[in-house]
């Protein structure tokens, strides 16, 4: 699996298998009012299972609830 995105420019969002979205590159996280959320690291994990206790960031809770999701796009129902 490659994660060598161009760090200096575009932001990339990578869904990890059964885990969070990892965000790399040039990005900011803002709430709906436009306030920037503090980010202390170059790569962050955004909650994908909805059960993190520090949303929007991941805290590993997906492992406790058996969250499952592929890294790629899920097939349309019926496909």
């Amino acid at each position: 699996m490659e994660n060598d995105s161009n760090r200096s420019s575009r932001a990339t969002i990578t869904p990890y298998p059964d885990g969070p979205y990892l965000v790399r590159g040039d990005f900011v996280v803002r709430d709906q009012e436009g306030n920037e959320l503090p980010v202390e690291r170059r790569t962050i994990a955004l909650c994908r299972c909805g059960k993190s206790q520090m949303r929007p960031f991941c805290d590993g809770t997906h492992k406790l609830i058996g969250f499952e999701a592929p890294s790629g796009q899920e097939p349309w129902p019926g496909d």
Partner: protein, 339 residues
């Protein structure tokens, strides 16, 4: 902060006695490796684990009164190899071999392996009922590794192909503070120790640490010292990161319940967020990337993760059992000013 410097601990038997005596003299003399090191339980053998720990420490730190040339003295390397053999065999006995299905997707296999953690619920116990004295002991045990957190896994860097190497560096850069030494995890741990009125000097509590605690660190160093174990070293890191965020939230909660503030909890809170990132990179990009580039070491990646969980389980059991008996889990109890 000055460079690391430890003093030789007190020997715990003939092996450590022989080693420490030689280390106080000129390299490369006075140290003869035993042909075979006999031990009924190498993982918990006080003498063997302490001797091995100090032999490895030559690569990490200065030792007061010890000539730095001992690090690569041939007799030291031979002596260390004699200690490593029974330890490696004992760890291998605890680890079930990987099957074909696991080898087909190392990332998915790691997820299943860590979900079946064989250890007792130490972090849950600490969160709900651990005492301040027990928290002190826990931190002292962990200081054997956390004051050099990330260093042993860095031995893997020159041994990896580009994809897993980039992944490892992505994790390690964050472990080392992302360019800010104040955020370095080992520095945050020292801050936690100071907040708990413990001595954060590297190696300060070595004499109090049981052999099993030293074995948890010797395990990583043993993988790190041998290029042939690069798979196990990567698997150990993946397993470590994948079993970190949830327990560390609990340890942070334990400290908050005991009335401690941000100075003490920062290390743990930082790990909740950091390792929620690291565990994915470590499992899929690092371990999965290494397995894709070097299928021959895929089985050893899973070995490293399973070995971590097994040795950690023995360590956690030691703590829980001692506390259940109402005793200290250290070789000698701490006297910490709590006023």
């Amino acid at each position: 902060m000055a460079g690391r410097l430890i003093t030789l601990p007190a020997p715990r038997g003939p092996l450590s006695e022989r080693l420490f005596e030689a280390l106080e003299g000129e390299p490369d003399s006075g140290l003869e490796a035993p042909p075979v090191v006999e031990s009924s339980d190498p993982i918990a053998d006080e003498d063997l684990q302490l001797a091995l720990y100090v032999a490895y420490e030559l690569h990490y730190t200065a030792i007061d009164g010890v000539d730095e040339r001992w690090e690569w003295a041939p007799t030291l390397v031979a002596f260390r190899a004699a200690l490593e053999r029974p330890f490696e065999e004992a760890v291998a006995e605890l680890v079930q071999p990987a099957n074909e299905e696991e080898l087909a997707s190392v990332g998915a296999a790691l997820q299943r392996i860590v979900a079946e953690d064989p250890g007792p619920p130490l972090s849950r116990y600490m969160e709900t009922q651990g005492t301040l004295e027990q928290m002190h002991e826990h931190v002292v045990h962990r200081s054997a590794y956390q004051l050099k957190e990330a260093d042993p896994h860095s031995w893997a860097i020159p041994r990896l192909s580009p994809v897993p190497k980039a992944a490892l560096l992505e994790v390690q850069a964050d472990e080392y503070g992302g360019g800010d030494s104040k955020r370095m995890h080992s520095v945050l741990f020292a801050k936690t120790m100071a907040a708990l009125r413990l001595d954060p000097t590297y190696g300060h509590y070595l004499d109090r640490l049981p052999g099993v605690t030293l074995a948890t660190v010797n395990l990583i160093s043993s993988f790190g010292m041998h290029r042939r174990r690069r798979g196990a070293l990567v698997g150990h890191l993946a397993g470590f990161e994948m079993t970190s965020s949830i327990p560390n939230r609990r340890y942070g909660n334990a400290l908050r319940r005991l009335g401690l503030g941000r100075e003490a909890t920062h290390f743990y809170d930082e790990h909740v967020e950091a390792d929620a990132v690291h565990e994915n990179i470590a499992a899929w990009d690092l371990a999965g990337g290494l397995a894709a580039d070097e299928p021959a070491v895929a089985a050893d990646i899973l070995f490293g993760a399973r070995a971590l969980l097994q040795v950690e389980a023995r360590w956690a059991t030691l703590l829980m059992d001692a506390w259940q008996r109402g005793e200290s889990s250290l070789r000698s109890p701490l006297a910490v000013a709590t006023a």
